[in-house]
């Protein structure tokens, strides 16, 4: 293990300790705020599996996010708590299944067509909840009682407490990061990156590219579902806007801010963007105008995300050079080829 890697490990550990200590130090408002930010970070990381590692720009991930929320809302009894242990897997599986179907159709196309087709299918789900009376139509639907985690009738945690909920989110986040890291580093992940970097070569090496991408798309949809379920629990409310393409695009901005080539980068991107929105909302009436200009500036000036700020300020990069991830991916692709 070289010095850089050690430093990254230490940094990760420090972040984790800070995240665990936070609810004991910060006021409740910030605990809830960070829970929301971490949930959006989870969604951004899920999306980045497809966009950053797979090279496929999807504009329908909000649909998988919102679908899981709707599944929880529809399964929740009106005046009683739903069981988390049954609704959670069902919600996540629904999202993954929707992603599997949409992916099977959308992955027949490439590049710009893929973007448009995912956008359109995402809107189809949006209109399904917006126009039909399935779950409150355009008004959305309330989840009156938060789901409970109970074994043999005994309640284990009380999700009404912001701190308990925060730790549930944090634990899910750690699980998602671990899973994503495993996937990206596996031969499967290397094959995915190989297909992104040079599709023709990967195909000629015999990788079943369509199947790999489809599995990744469904997995990513399922992970987006985890985030959507948690978001629905936190807010106790789901509405069609949760599935809208503006939401998908916002998450894509988080991915870009954080950088495309790492697992946790989008999490940092989500924290930055949500923090930025919070500050802008507090100080400006027309905060969306400022946000739009900032997004444009980021796209123009930081095509590789906020990591680029370091070399801009300090001259040279103290950590990973900007395109290290790419080199690593290429190396990985070669490795997977031998496997």
């Amino acid at each position: 293990m070289n010095a850089t890697r050690l430093r990254i490990r230490l940094f990760t550990l420090a972040c984790l300790i800070a995240a665990i200590a936070l609810p004991f130090l910060a006021p409740t408002y910030y605990v809830q705020f960070f829970a929301k930010a971490l949930i959006m970070g989870m969604l951004a990381m899920a999306l980045n599996l497809v966009v950053g590692h797979g090279g496929l720009v999807s504009l329908c991930h909000a649909a998988f996010f919102g679908l899981a929320g709707y599944v929880l809302a529809l399964l929740s009894p009106r005046y009683d708590a739903a069981s988390l242990l049954t609704t959670f897997p069902l919600a996540v599986l629904s999202s993954a299944a929707a992603a599997l179907v949409i992916g099977a159709l959308a992955l027949r196309t490439r590049g710009i067509y893929f973007i448009m087709v995912t956008l359109a299918f995402g809107e189809m789900l949006f209109f399904f909840f917006h126009d039909t009376k399935v779950a409150g139509g355009s008004d959305g639907i309330f989840i009156n009682v938060r789901p409970e985690i109970a074994i043999a009738g005994r309640q284990l945690f009380d999700l009404d407490k912001p701190i308990t909920f925060y730790f549930l989110v944090l634990a899910s986040l750690v699980g998602v990061v671990a899973l994503l890291t495993m996937v990206v580093r596996s031969p499967f992940g290397h094959a995915l990156a190989a297909a992104r970097d040079n599709e023709r070569r990967a195909r000629s090496l015999g990788f079943p590219i369509f199947r790999i991408r489809l599995i990744v798309f469904a997995l990513s949809g399922g992970l987006a579902g985890i985030a959507g379920y948690l978001a629905a629990v936190q807010f106790g409310f789901v509405a069609p806007q949760m599935l809208g393409w503006h939401q998908s695009a916002t998450v894509l901005v988080m991915v870009l801010i954080g950088g495309l080539r790492s697992v946790t980068g989008p999490l940092a991107g989500a924290l930055v963007l949500i923090g930025l929105e919070e500050v802008l909302k507090a100080h400006l009436d027309n905060w969306k105008l400022a946000e739009g200009l900032i997004i444009i500036a980021i796209v123009v000036m930081l095509p590789n995300g906020i990591r680029q700020i370091w070399p801009m300020i300090f001259g040279s990069s103290p950590e990973v050079p900007v395109d290290a991830g790419r080199a690593e991916a290429k190396h990985g692709a070669a490795e997977a080829g031998h496997a």
Binding site: V51, V57, L59, L105, R108, T109, R110, G111, I112, Y113, I115, M116, V117, L119, A120, F121, E123, M124, F127, F128, H130, D131, T132, W245, H246, A249, T250, L252, V253, L256, L260, N286, K288, L289, E291, G292, L293, I294, I295, I296, I298, V299, V300, P303
Partner: protein
């Protein structure tokens, strides 16, 4: 369902399809020639409708609103190309998606600063109001017929310019093989600016002509953007003829879907798109190698 209702719905479908074609042809031109995917296209459609409302309010003339709205949109398009869009040539689709998304937020806020959040109605010009008796028991609003005729004229003009003129030749050369065309001495900097501005003007024109039969409201561009995308995907990217076919198909599906299956009509067009994609992933008139 009797013949009269079917005829009226058929006219509605054609009218809807022709407006859709205007907006989608702008989108497909900008993509086919500049290689830029512009999510802000719907925002300019909305802007067109608001400009129409504002100019009619100021001058009382719908014709002035059409001329003025298109001109303003064209100028905005020239400016935007010069300042922002040129940064996107050759960048990946992700950068284009996000920059145009940022642009949507900016346009939407500026619209709110200028025109507020209210829903508005625009009156059609007096000489186009009322209905016309087509057959003994079939009457149809004159304004809707006028939209059909006008949009078909614009479509014919677009086809004429692209297939028969020198400008069209340059534009087609740029879409086909930009490097080769550049070597042959075509200055694309200027061509790009005009193409982008024309694309924006077409979006705004769609918003202007639709304003008198729909209401003018803040989120109106969103629906149109998604529909234009579906049209472009159906027809094949960069193909103006494809956009025409796609727009007509969507017009028919949506209009008759609303009549026969009102609860799921908004989903029908996506099912149509899915079916076309299974059959031809690059669209009806698209090139196969996409």
């Amino acid at each position: 369902m009797d013949l009269i209702t079917v005829s009226v719905q058929l006219l509605n479908a054609v009218q809807y399809g022709t407006v859709l074609f205007l907006v989608a042809s702008g989108l497909t031109l900008v993509f086919g020639i500049l290689g830029v995917i512009n999510l802000a296209h719907g925002a300019f459609y909305m802007l067109g409708a608001y400009l129409a409302y504002w100019i009619v309010l100021m001058t009382g003339s719908f014709v002035l609103a059409m001329l003025g709205g298109v001109l303003i949109a064209f100028i905005i398009g020239m400016l935007l190309e010069t300042v922002f869009v040129r940064l996107l040539y050759g960048r990946d689709h992700l950068a284009q998606v996000l920059l145009s998304f940022g642009l949507i937020l900016v346009i939407d806020e500026i619209r709110q600063l200028l025109f507020g959040k209210d829903v508005h109605a625009v009156a059609p010009p007096a000489w186009l109001s009322g209905s016309i008796q087509l057959t003994d028991n079939l009457s149809y609003p004159v304004y809707r017929l006028a939209i059909c005729v006008f949009c078909l004229m614009v479509a014919a003009a677009i086809f004429f310019v692209i297939t028969r003129t020198k400008i069209g030749m340059i534009v087609r050369a740029g879409a086909e093989n930009r490097e080769m065309a550049r070597v042959l001495g075509i200055k694309f900097d200027r061509v790009n600016r005009y193409v982008f501005a024309v694309g924006i003007a077409l979006a705004a024109l769609g918003g202007i002509v639709i304003a008198p039969i729909s209401t003018v409201f803040p989120g109106m561009g969103d629906g149109m953007l998604i529909l234009s995308f579906v049209v472009v995907v159906l027809g094949g990217i960069g193909s103006v003829a494809g956009a025409a076919v796609g727009a007509l198909l969507i017009g028919l599906t949506d209009t008759f879907g609303k009549v026969f299956f009102p609860s799921v009509s908004s989903i029908l067009i996506y099912l149509l798109m899915a079916a076309v994609l299974v059959w031809r992933p690059s669209g009806i008139l698209g090139r196969r190698d996409v």
